[in-house]
Symmetry: D2
Subunit: 286 residues, 4 copies
């Protein structure tokens, strides 16, 4: 990922010869295909692909390579997207009180597991301010209680736009996003839900899990849509539990699921390994 | 489990000295405690225990040991149950079309992983008849379609009573049990549900799972209560899936979860390793 | 897999344009690419691919399509292999005493999870004869004790050749294969080792695992090479264990790992989802 | 764990009546038994137990309760140990360059998942100094290169003794401990090994794992003994890998296993949930 290159994501109706055409375009310009992940959905008649291309020996400028692809892309009636490597995705992290997910993100970013640049940490509580300050990342405390909710979301949108944020991570942000907010950032908001969705939708999933007496708890990383807890799932993790685990134990054990599922989900998104297909997410894992 | 012995299951309100009293009773009669699993539910104020006792050197007859315990049991206002080892639990298996769960039970019984005696295989279809015949186990085809449903369940009850069945296993039996049936055999009916409950309650869970785009599928082994798919959970298994898995693939991958969760659940029950506590099951695994 | 089609496996030195060339060949003859899995090994400089092609609308006969590929294949200096679908792979299962792996294979084959035709079950003990007879599969008891070992392996080879066996599965076959046997069937012998290789090579791995006090046990499905327990690994499974599990419990719990790892490994092989790369196996899972 | 109480760990030769005697001692002094975990090793003839006792209503002083147990303990010829709750275990963390395990410990301590007081972070490199300073924990850089090794370990011992350290955690400390050091702190040194022991003993296990082509990698948390990588195992974690993962990917994926296994292992130890039985560790998990 550190070498100059391109990631191409593409989806279109399935039709003969797509792989040949796309790969030939790359080869004709001396692009070196590092990875070609593809999925022909036999049920839905759609085609999805992710290509990773070394551009060092391209016979044209990278911009021209990208621009020239449009002819093929349009002929396939495809949606496509190029990303130039190396890059760091501008990311805002929204939090409330708990900090374990935020910490996990910061730390994976530092280890270079997540190529992101955290533009700001935004909280409707101040609990995570000291972490932000320690990491020298701007912290914005936005009041969202009661009447302030609507204005609060406006302020967040202004911040995200001003900072040209590409990805919004809800790292245990305990506020339901307004529909228009979800739509404005469609496909660019990732949430971690502290249950194994679609089980235990809504509040206090660990308490629900305790009362139901499940033997496995989980966490779900998903894209946020206006339909609460129903967005496309990117990653899920589970952990075995027993009868002696209290709801507090489930919170403790669940933290680990949340951290891992969220970190993996962000990584897949930032590396362009996800393609949203209506209610489902195609994920080409690494 | 093959040596002469006893399993004692006991539950009561938590109170000082239970372990001491129970263990002292065993020790005073020269019982050898092989295993003493215990759980004090701090949230509900209840106490649960399972003891495994070698009886070879008891200073009284086993019947007297069991009878004599009643004084202590009543003073603790406990529910308790003794089982003499070795034993085989009389078990009826109810099936419809699919046979993988039935096969798993048969194999595990043959390998002596499940100390059960299968009194009969009962099907509302004939698909599993040949398996029953191969294993020389009586097969009963009971018509349950349309108007025959009520009479069908009556026939099953008659069979179970006549054969002194202690455990009814629903091995992908695709009929909803009547309430009175559930009550009559409360705590003695085990079902395998082909989803990770409480997700995907109801029909066609694999199709539901595909449409929701989950990244893990599962199976749940639980006691059957009148409240459909809501009985106490004994065991759950999951398997990772990806976007390219069709509903048929989920059925294939799910079979494995079903087989394992059901086999473990039956084993725990038959070895008296479960205690039902309202909506939850205490499970002391082995 | 049930529609007429082809699987193409190919490996060669990595070089520009391979995907384009191969996919173009398919497209030029109106082949419909269902799946194109590819791996460019950046460390070893090698390229591996597996294609699944629907051939219904090919503009040439399938034989001509296969034959015509040779020009491209040779120009890439590739190794390649076509397989026509649907097919069933002729498979011999070698056993000794334990039958759980054999049973798993039989049953997955019956459920059509494994497209194999079992030509024979060969045992150096008679324990599995009754299973073979029940399934109406020829059983060959070959004496391999003491002096009979060498002659025994000769007989097995004769059987395999006579039956045109394509795959030999060692389903807990407790004999070490002679070097020349391994070489003669290189890449076509799959073994299940009852440990998490490379831990606990050699005899009695569950006893070794107990003594070492591991917290997870496992099983490994691998190709057999002359170097014992060191062949390319196809699949591994693990199961959590605790201090109270005896070596016998590990045997019991390990059976499940063995069954699953072996079944998955055979499936990957038979669906041509594996490519051996020296000591490692490329596996494109399904 | 936050209420005043006691943990009692006990091991002795198995003999009739141990549970009764120990539980009766507790009950006779109005101790409230929260948890009584017990293991009778049928193979080795030994008995192990861990009791958690609320002491609020004891009829004697806690010191007297502890002292009075000695009569029973000696009569059982047992090893036993009481710990008063709440407590924090004085812990030194030894590091070299990598910091993910150290970070995990710090976080979990902060979240109160690990009741430890970190007395110092000791490194033979300076990489982790800034983390220590951020957390306001003394950092000691000890030169251990070449001739300084012996003197380095002496200095560490002096530090540990001066700070009354009860637990030494090797958080990816890349030095082999001298035998006498291991003996001096026997049962009080916990290491995280970055492989699924006993596979890949020694240097560079991820590279070894890549070359062997395993399909699961792991990490092992164990007590340190003079016999390198052979101490009693407390916890193990695994993660699935595929052919496309490079050794660097394994390092990345393995970090997660290391963090989880180490955190769990420390938690079990600090909560007195482990008892060392020669080469094996009894672990009563929570």
């Amino acid at each position: 990922m550190s070498r100059p290159g391109l990631i191409l994501k593409l989806s279109c109706l399935d039709q003969p010869g797509i792989v040949a055409k796309v790969a030939t375009y790359v080869a004709n310009h001396s692009g070196n295909l590092i990875e070609f992940a593809q999925f022909s959905n036999q049920l839905g008649g759609k085609f999805f692909a992710r290509l990773e291309i070394e551009t060092e020996h391209l016979d044209v400028e990278v911009e021209d390579f990208i621009a020239g692809f449009a002819t093929l892309g349009r002929s396939l009636q495809a949606n496509w997207h190029f990303r130039r490597l190396p890059y760091r995705m501008k990311t805002a992290v929204l939090v409330t009180k708990t900090e374990h997910c935020l910490n996990e993100i910061l730390w994976r970013a530092e280890l270079d597991e997540l190529p992101i640049e955290i533009t700001s940490i935004i909280g409707n509580r101040s609990n995570c301010r000291n972490i932000a300050e320690r990491e020298k990342i701007p912290f914005h405390r936005i009041d969202m209680d009661g009447d302030h909710r609507e204005r609060g979301f406006e302020k967040i949108r202004e911040l995200l736009v001003a900072q040209e944020v590409e990805l919004v991570v809800l790292a245990r942000f305990m506020q339901i996003l307004p529909d228009d907010f979800c739509k404005a950032f469609a496909g660019r908001i990732i949430n971690i839900h502290h249950s194994f969705l679609p089980a235990f939708i809504g509040a206090n999933p660990y308490k629900q899990a305790y009362e139901r007496g499940v033997k496995l708890i989980g966490a779900t990383c998903h894209y946020v849509t206006a339909d609460l807890d129903a967005g496309p799932i990117i990653e899920q993790e589970v952990e075995r539990v027993q009868h002696f685990h209290t709801p507090n134990d489930l919170v403790r054990l669940g933290r680990q699921c949340e951290r891992i599922a969220l970190a993996k989900g962000i990584r897949y998104h930032v590396h362009d390994r996800t393609i949203i297909d209506e209610h489902r997410a195609i994920v080409f894992p690494d």
